[in-house]
Point group: C2
Chain length 339, copies 2
DNA sequence: ATGAAAGCGCTAACAT
DNA sequence: ATGTTAGCGCTTTCAT
């Protein structure tokens, strides 16, 4: 091989040093600005960098500095629009400050989630943000992570582990929904029906519990956080001969499935069935009818994660759980009017 | 500090070697199985690994092996459901074979896209898959990437760079749509209107071109790939006093925005306006009415990327562009019936 | 079959 | 202000 023209480049700091006629330390300093140096020499080095097309090997740098300027983000499912939106906010917030956010999807699998944790730990990320897959069974993954790197749980809290958490005040969110219903719904005409997303995540469970606390005698259908379950639930409701109701669900993806199936079955929303969601995902306002739902302050949550990561890397105080207050967004599927 | 109980662990291969009373080379071999060794010794080493809670430092390994067992995936926008679905498929395919897929969102910005490329190159990913942001201006990022690592463009082709590409046969997709229209639509009653997603991406441009080739005299509205643009386009169409039509759009996100705005304005879909999308994103079948659209074989595309990456790392043959044939999915927004 | 030692690319002491 | 050198954690020759 003559001179690396193509392929995996392979031009190192040593090549740059040789080309510029300086030591490798000088090259390093010219790039980082970690020490004062003559302007002239710096220019010379920078010129060589450009000529040779040098790009620093971040692996070498990371090994030496024990720092990667990266944050790992593990999400259960890329296709859930709520998680995507959350990921986008976190990405944006850290990008602004020069930290690369690397995302791995756990594909709703505990095995892949654990592997993602191992991968990120091994790759020496400076911090880890995870939306755990499961309230109890993600414990191993979360514990492992937090024992080795600054870790924060997002949206879902794993049972029994006392670790930093940023999420939404689910109880308050449900209370907003119930207040809306008590104000605008004739429940003798459209009784409350609850459709949950399963008890395997904290947010799912908390929301479901608060609903049943308000309406202990209401019908409850419980399944997963998916469009598909929403469709099935609608089928089950109709199969029971129910003709009218106010269906409150613990996630927009469920609510959208519900609405879709109800309308396909010839029902009117909100005429026959009112439907209320939770999360305010982007498509909620595109649905027909547009979806009444609970909106979470995603951007504030991302800010909070960022602040915590910064603060913690300096001092060593524990972070309690940080809950953000959601807001009710009233749209067509359950309007602010009687009937 | 006494003995690392908490924090960034920091137990290295050397600690394991000391604990097991062997050399670090032996530990390495016990873990990798790269050389035959006595069963007894291996067990001893593995026991120490467990006792000490050792996890290999992948940064050290990568520096030495010049291989990271990771694939970089750059997507323009996490919140676009089509990209999310594509990312999920790619993730799944590579995960199965032990390669970690790390995702960075470019947040629809050329600057962030370039930074993502630099980041992945610096982190020495074994391969890079990118859905470029822009047909022409992503050239720098794609060129840089491909000069240093095996890179493949997904879904969108950057103009003028001759690099591996996996995508959909957009022309064929539009032809399917036009054939559907010619078969089932009375165009004197519902004339074709075209709503594009802008000319800055290859798929957007190709689809638009093929539409206008079929119907050179049709009205054309061009914007971006977003729900919001779909809503605006509907407003523009109605503002021109148009009462009926067959609106073909170059992406589902646009079609969903269109449908939403049309129905809000009191129009019937497909009665007044038929609407056809492209991509078949998950929510397309939840919309009201459900969306007639062109479906891409995402899983096959992911397989193709995987095969190519494997093949290329062995031989060195060039990969031509790989185009997959889409299928038409007929739903309610433009049914297979006249009127 | 096992150990000793070199070295991947980089930064940070430590010299000068 | 600049150069020399040690060493981050790991794999892989090269010895034995």
């Amino acid at each position: 091989m003559t001179s690396g023209t193509v392929g995996t480049s392979g031009v190192t700091i040593r090549n740059v040093a040789a080309h510029a006629g300086v030591s490798i330390a000088t090259v390093s300093r010219a790039l980082s600005g970690s020490r004062p140096m003559s302007h002239q020499l710096r220019e010379k080095v920078l010129a060589s960098v450009v000529v040779l097309g040098y790009h620093p090997n971040l692996v070498g740098r990371a090994l030496r500095k024990k720092k990667t300027s990266s944050l790992g983000l593990i999400i259960p499912d890329l296709e859930n629009p709520f998680f995507s939106a959350l990921a986008q906010q976190v990405s944006r917030r850290f990008s602004e400050s020069g930290t690369d956010v690397l995302i791995i999807s756990a594909d709703n699998t505990l095995e892949l989630e654990l592997r993602a944790v191992r991968s990120f730990l091994g790759r020496q990320v400076d911090g880890l943000v995870m939306i755990p897959c499961d309230e109890t069974n993600s414990g191993e993954a979360v514990q492992l992570a937090s024992a080795r790197v600054l870790t924060i749980q997002l949206d879902r809290l794993v049972h029994g582990v006392d670790l930093p958490f940023v999420g939404c005040d689910n109880t308050a969110g449900i209370d907003l929904v119930m207040h809306h219903i008590e104000t605008f719904v004739d429940e003798s005409n459209q009784p409350v029906i609850i459709v949950g997303g399963g008890g395997s995540t904290s947010s799912g469970r908390e929301r479901l519990q608060e609903f049943t606390r308000h309406r202990p005698n209401s019908l409850v259908f419980d399944g997963q956080f998916s469009f598909e379950w929403g469709k099935q639930a609608a089928g089950q409701i109709l199969a029971q001969g129910i003709k009218r109701g106010t269906i409150v669900s613990t996630a927009d993806v469920i609510a959208l499935g519900l609405t879709s199936a109800l309308i396909s079955a010839g029902k009117s929303v909100p005429g026959d069935f009112r439907v209320v969601g939770f999360d305010d995902v982007g498509v909620a306002y595109l649905a027909h009818p547009t979806l009444t739902t609970v909106s979470q302050p995603l951007s504030d949550m991302a800010d909070s994660i960022f602040s915590f990561m910064i603060a913690h890397s300096q001092s060593d105080q524990v972070q309690p759980r940080k809950l953000f207050s959601p807001e009710l967004v009233v749209r067509e599927s359950s309007p602010a009017s009687l009937k």
